[in-house]
């Protein structure tokens, strides 16, 4: 099962090819903001490294954001039409879902040992606002079923359930996280780039017991995007409507809703 993932929602373009969960090739174009120029070359490169052509891809996946509007739309336009042209499925995965699964994968051993955990993905989404998505991680699907949450991702017997999200002014991020901190749900792992962007707000949180920062899950990884797409394809989730994930309504002529 070959999965081609396109992550163009930041200034860094990342294309990855997985064989099921395993990364087999990748290509990056960093800090160019020229995704339209580099996109097809990177795709060709990852397929070439694997000795494959586009017909060998079984699933397409793309990061739907939130992120850079233009970059995200380039990736979605290419992923959507490649999948359509090849009569293959395409899955859109949100950036917080990708980061949460990255944080889970990087902290898997202590989470498995504890049996449960909370993951909070905090993204700096400009305008001095932070978008936070909250996840519970458990050994079984009890958490998800009990709360009616859909499984974001499942790795063997351990699953992530998204329990909510919120867009706040950055100064409110501490209280939002603490308000949602479930003392019975295990240690908390924070991922995303907001912790670095607003260190003065996050450092006090990170000094508390059982709250950890997952340093390597600040930016999204297309290989993890592919793993989620593989999982969703396997459990026959409804195919994503492939449009960017906008966290704010767009209001012309300035101002916010």
């Amino acid at each position: 099962m070959h999965i081609l993932g396109i992550d163009s929602s930041t200034e860094n373009l990342h294309i990855a090819l997985n064989s099921s969960k395993k990364l087999i090739s990748e290509a990056r174009s960093s800090n160019t903001k020229k995704h339209m120029v580099h996109m097809m070359g990177c795709i060709d490169s990852v397929l070439g490294q694997a000795g494959m052509d586009i017909q060998g891809v079984h699933i397409f996946a793309a990061n739907t954001g939130p992120g850079d509007f233009t970059g995200t739309r380039i990736g979605l336009s290419v992923a959507k039409i490649l999948a359509w042209a090849e009569h293959k499925p395409v899955y859109g995965i949100t950036a917080p879902d990708i980061l949460a699964v990255q944080a889970f994968s990087l902290s898997r051993e202590p989470i498995i040992a504890e049996g449960r955990a909370q993951i909070v993905c905090c993204m700096d989404v400009k305008r001095e606002e932070v978008y936070s998505a909250f996840y519970h991680v458990g050994k079984s699907d009890i958490l998800g079923k009990k709360n009616g949450n859909q499984t974001t991702y499942e790795d063997r017997s351990t699953a992530l359930y998204r329990t909510g999200s919120v867009l706040t002014g950055h100064q409110h991020v501490q209280q939002e996280i603490l308000a949602r901190l479930d003392q019975d749900a295990g240690p908390m792992y924070i991922c995303g780039n907001a912790a670095q962007a607003y260190r003065h707000l996050f450092d006090p949180l990170l000094s508390r017991k059982k709250i950890y920062f997952v340093q390597k899950a600040q930016t999204t990884d297309a290989a993890v995007l592919n793993r989620i797409a593989h999982y969703r394809h396997g459990v026959k989730h409804a195919q994503a409507n492939l449009v960017p994930f906008y966290i704010r309504d767009f209001v012309p002529f300035g101002g916010k809703k």
Binding site: V37, T70, S77, K80
Partner: protein
């Protein structure tokens, strides 16, 4: 042996219309699908670029599929994909170009990046494929008002542009100022039909400037000053005549300068295109003037005046035949290269 037919898939997303079309041999339009965003942008009185980009990404796949369905063919029968990559709104262009590159890569067919303005001129070849050049082209729309010289090889060279507002932009802005709605061009056109174009003698900007440039911003200001000086001219009774007078000034300048270019270059064919080419008074005045001056006139039907992908496929065909091929690192640009 008869040559194989060439089928070009055209994709157009340079502004607020998502369009796809299939054209055979540069002259037979097998399908022409346009998803208009007019209803969405109407409440803002003009195109909002971010909203346009958002809508393009929602419908691009459906529009391309529909174009193939109506052409009764599959993607495998397409020989090349032609896409507008300049000029236009960057966020909008990127959606169409991304889609075109994906098709080119997946199917291993040539990618042809086309100039939107050049495609408007080539829309005339869809109504008369025997046009061989030696023409003066006028493109007049919401974003452009330009005069071009088209040589015997159908190569295009700009003679003049608007130095400020495009004609269609002036119509939109004045319609908004007068509370008439959006898009302004068709509204003013319809309203003017029952008005007196001599009601107010508005200036004819740059009429005798000696070049082929236009300027419509001052005309817009002239109307605003006129209404402030005499508010009665905006009464319900006078509105049609006010609109007709404003329209007549724009039409006068467009016709005069285009015909002047013909005379200066010793050319006797005019190609008019672009959204404002749908304006009934402009069409009438061009017909009258060209008949009097012995100039051949080509203006496409209304569906080809608006932004569409058939013209992009048509131009793509000629560039395909000329051997043009774009690489997959092709970028987009807000600016025209002609």
């Amino acid at each position: 042996m008869k040559d194989k037919n060439i089928h070009i898939l055209g994709i157009e997303t340079s502004c607020d219309d998502t369009a796809a079309a299939v054209v055979r041999d540069g002259k037979q339009v097998l399908s022409n699908v346009v998803s208009s965003q007019n209803d969405i942008h109407r409440k803002y009185g003009g195109v909002v670029p971010e909203i346009a980009s958002r809508k393009h990404i929602e419908v691009i796949g459906v529009v391309i599929q529909e174009a193939l369905n109506r052409a009764k063919m599959g993607l495998d029968a397409v020989d090349a994909v032609s896409v507008t990559h300049r000029p236009g709104l960057i966020g909008s262009l990127l959606v169409g170009v991304g889609a075109a590159k994906a098709i080119s890569y997946a199917k291993g067919i040539p990618l042809i990046g086309t100039n939107h303005l050049k495609a408007h001129i080539y829309s005339n070849l869809l109504i008369n494929p025997h046009i061989t050049g030696h023409c003066i082209g006028l493109i007049v729309s919401g974003g452009h008002s330009s005069i071009y010289h088209v040589d015997g090889q159908l190569q295009i060279r700009a003679l003049g542009h608007t130095v400020d507002d495009a004609a269609g932009e002036a119509f939109d802005k004045i319609a908004r100022y007068l509370g008439l709605g959006y898009p302004g061009g068709p509204i003013i056109d319809k309203l003017s039909a029952s008005g007196d174009e001599q009601f107010i003698e508005f200036p004819r900007p740059m009429m005798d400037s000696g070049d082929y440039n236009f300027s419509f911003s001052g005309l817009k200001t002239a109307l605003i000053y006129a209404t402030k000086k005499n508010p009665q001219i905006t009464s319900e009774k006078n509105m049609a005549s006010l609109a007709a007078s404003f329209q007549e000034s724009i039409v006068d300048v467009l016709v005069h300068k285009t015909v002047k270019a013909c005379k200066d270059y010793g050319i006797n064919t005019i190609l008019v295109s672009g959204g404002v080419a749908a304006n009934s008074r402009l069409r009438q005045r061009f017909e009258q003037t060209c008949e009097k001056e012995g100039i051949a006139l080509w203006i496409p039907p209304l569906w080809l005046c608006m932004d569409n992908a058939a013209m992009v496929a048509c131009l793509g065909y000629y560039e395909f035949k000329a051997g043009k091929r774009c690489t997959l690192d092709m970028d987009v640009s807000s600016r025209s290269d002609i």
